[in-house]
């Protein structure tokens, strides 16, 4: 049983490779205690999108059940990670003239400019996932909170992330099939960014790339704020696929070769160096050139990172990304990937490490998204949220008095 001030929340990631569930007990809206973990191989999901509802439900519900059993508690609500190639984002900004006679910015001005900046119509069949506010600008100078400051012109911009309504619903309905409500939807890239970066790194500028099995998503921070997010429907599976085609082996064999001998850089100089497929001298075991494996994996990795850089476009500038590139996700375990990343982006690159409060058994990159969901929920959102309008007046004061007593 939990007290009124604590909630049992399940952070769920329905990925292409696996479904991960963490059960956390959040007390007083701030303190998190992770009490259960559930992981199941994913089925019915391709490139982060549900393609077989029943199979996806089975895998997800199995992970949820396992996590609940380990936690010894029933999940009350779900915070769900959202990714997929259907996600897109755009930047929209608006400005208003400060209305008051003494040019002091009021809460009304802030609300007006925020509403205007978010007003842009979405194409039919699209749903808004996130609206991430960038700092206010008052007469051209950036200010974190413009209220009570003096100026003439107030501007603000929003990075609006949206996705295909049907695909988002599918994800939500998979959780609904377990009779649970999705209370929050968190972009996977934002979840990873929240977990793996510090406030200082976000201030200096940092790019976080989550290399999943079917999807790669990324988030670029600058001046402490989210500048751009994005997804690519390319991931570790594509490396496997390339190896499968290039080496003429099955996908399972290619996956095995990738995990054993794959590298993001070509390290083997001796072209005649061979590796066995199974290595157990069994019937049908074959030899492959190690250089060939590394060449294919490196080419694909480099291409993938190059596409990310290309998609970032003018938003990415090495001089504004002082904290470098942080890699996470299953494919980030590929040896040498940090080296390639550094070459592609011209920045330092490293694999993301979970913060010290994360237990050792959860430090694997496969948990970084679900951990990040909690992190984003408990901390990250407040950095971007529109300041709520303060209620004044007799009734609200009276309510406050009773609430505090």
């Amino acid at each position: 049983m939990t007290s009124n001030s604590s909630r049992i929340i399940g952070a769920v990631e329905i990925g292409t490779g696996k479904v991960a569930v963490l059960v956390g007990e959040i007390s007083r809206g701030r303190s998190l205690n992770i009490i259960g973990v559930g992981v199941a191989p994913s089925r019915g999901v391709m490139k982060g999108e549900v393609v077989d509802y029943k199979a996806a439900c089975e895998a997800t519900h199995h992970a949820l059940e396992m996590a609940e059993k380990r936690a010894g508690a029933r999940i009350e609500e779900v915070w769900l990670a959202q990714t997929g190639g259907h996600l897109d984002g755009f930047y929209n900004e608006a400005s208003v003239n400060v209305k008051s006679a003494d040019n002091t910015v009021t809460a009304l001005d802030i609300a007006s400019v925020c509403e205007l900046a978010k007003e842009k119509e979405l194409p039919a069949g699209r749903s808004r996932i996130h609206e991430i506010r960038r700092p206010f600008r008052l007469d051209g100078r950036a200010v974190p909170d413009a209220e009570h400051l003096s100026g003439h012109r107030l501007e603000v911009g929003y990075w609006i992330v949206h996705g295909h309504e049907g695909k988002v619903s599918d994800n939500i309905h998979v959780v609904g099939g377990y009779h649970l409500e999705v209370r929050e939807l968190v972009l996977s890239s934002l979840a990873n960014g929240s977990l793996l970066t510090t406030a200082e790194e976000r201030q200096h500028g940092v790019l976080v790339v989550n290399l999943g099995k079917g999807i790669t998503d990324y988030v670029l921070y600058r001046d402490g704020h989210v500048l751009v997010t994005g997804t690519l429907p390319v991931g570790g599976d594509h490396l496997t696929n390339d190896l499968s085609i290039g080496l003429r082996v099955t996908t399972a064999q290619a996956e095995m070769l990738k995990l054993r001998h794959g590298r993001a850089t070509i390290q083997t100089r001796d072209k005649s160096e061979k590796v066995w497929l199974n290595g157990d001298a069994s019937f049908g075991d074959k030899q492959f050139s190690k250089t060939a494996i590394e060449t294919i994996a490196a080419a694909r990795t480099q291409e993938l990172l190059g596409v990310i850089k290309q998609k970032l476009g003018s938003a990415f500038a090495p001089e504004h990304c002082g904290a470098g590139v942080i890699l996470t996700g299953g494919t980030s375990k590929l040896p040498g990937i940090d080296e390639v990343t550094a070459n592609v982006f011209g920045l330092n690159a490293r694999r993301g490490e979970s913060p010290s409060w994360v237990k050792d058994e959860l430090k694997d990159p496969m948990f970084s998204t679900v951990l990040g969901i909690f992190q984003f929920g408990l901390r990250g959102a407040h950095e971007h949220a529109v300041p709520p309008r303060r209620k004044t007046g007799f009734l609200s004061n009276l309510t406050k008095i009773f609430a505090s007593s």
Binding site: Y53, C57, E58, H61, L64, E65, W79, Q82, C114, E115, K118, E119, K120, E121, L122, R126, S127, R128, I129, H130, E131, I132, R133, H162, G163, E165, V168, S169, I172, H173, G176, G177, Y178, H179, L180, E181, V182, R183, E184, L185, V186, F376, G377, L378, A381, H382, H384, A385, V386, P388
Partner: protein, 323 residues
């Protein structure tokens, strides 16, 4: 969480929050359906409990207001098999049983304890009463009784008279179970009917104080007292006692009774040595002087100047026996 952001997702286009989350039971997994059933069961149980609780409260209130006997019988209890009496006086269990007059089949829970207590208190001899249930079948009665300090004769309508007891607080009552008691009679009072008894006699506290002091300090004198008159109490603060051998001893409640009794004792002793010690009246109301009236005042005594007859033992030149 991002509620501050996401709640504001309303201006243009749908938010993911607008997506209907409920899925049909067919689209649920086995575990999901069982969770749903469990939730419905919980809600159903909660409503049932709330309903049952509400109905129970309604029934209880309704029974309390309309049919307490039914409420009492609803609570299963044994019939009363005995009364336990705890008292500081002389009343007996038999007397209590007679006063309470419980029905033979009455169960312990069906008794109205307050009514029983009131019934006991209607008797003046009972000063305080506590009635309680001692499960499974015993009614416990704890009594505090009044102690009589005097007697009074009351006439009834048919010309007969009855002896009543008067307690310290002036309450007049039939004395029950008192053994032979020699108490002085009260006179100079008017008994006023009130309900089944009489109104309390005013000023009895002073009379009781006098009697108690006399009994305690000069019992040999107290034993000779026959009648205490309250005739002059209201007007002159005087209590007049008629003793067996002194027709009138006048006390005042304005002064200390101990001192007055000491003076009385002294006077009685002093007079006893005289040839004809018949006293008619002793007035103890004057501070320092005790006028007495005798049937035959001897000449020797008449010769004594008043100032030589001091009532302060320390100023006596001779012992009182030598006077």
């Amino acid at each position: 969480m991002s509620s501050a952001e996401s709640h504001s997702l309303s201006t243009s286009g749908r938010s993911w929050r607008d997506i209907r989350q409920e899925v049909t039971p067919l689209a649920m997994s086995r575990k999901g359906r069982s969770r749903r059933r469990l939730e419905w069961f919980k809600i159903g149980t909660l409503f049932t409990l709330l309903g049952a609780g509400g109905w129970g409260i309604y029934t209880l209130v309704h029974s309390w207001e309309n049919d307490r006997a039914a409420l009492a019988t609803a609570v299963h209890s044994e019939p009363v098999r005995g009364i336990a009496l705890i008292t500081d006086g002389v009343l007996t269990k038999k007397w209590v049983a007679g006063v309470l007059d419980l029905p033979k089949t009455a169960s312990l829970m069906s008794l109205d304890l307050e009514a029983l207590r009131t019934r006991l208190l209607q008797n003046g001899q009972v000063w305080g009463a506590v009635v309680s249930r001692n499960f499974p079948d015993t009614l416990v009665v704890t009594l505090q009784e009044r102690t009589p300090v005097a007697r009074v004769q009351a006439g009834s309508g048919d010309g007969s008279s009855q002896q009543l007891m008067v307690a310290r607080d002036g309450v007049v009552y039939d004395g029950v179970n008192y053994k032979q008691m020699v108490l002085p009679w009260l006179s100079g009072i008017r008994l006023v009917k009130a309900g089944h008894g009489f109104e309390p006699i005013a000023g009895m506290v002073d009379v009781a104080n006098l009697l108690a002091t006399a009994k305690h300090q000069t019992e040999w004198l107290y034993n000779t007292w026959l009648i205490v008159s309250l005739d002059r109490l209201e007007a002159r603060d005087e209590i007049v006692v008629k003793a067996r051998d002194i027709p009138e001893i006048i006390f005042t409640r304005k002064q200390d009774f101990s001192k007055q009794l000491a003076e009385l004792d002294y006077v009685v002793d002093s007079v006893r040595v005289l040839p004809d010690p018949t006293l008619l009246s002793i007035n103890l109301t004057l501070d320092g002087q005790v006028p007495i009236r005798m049937r035959n005042t001897p000449d020797e005594l008449a010769k004594f100047p008043a100032d030589n007859f001091s009532l302060q033992p320390s100023q006596q030149r001779k012992s009182k026996r030598d006077l």
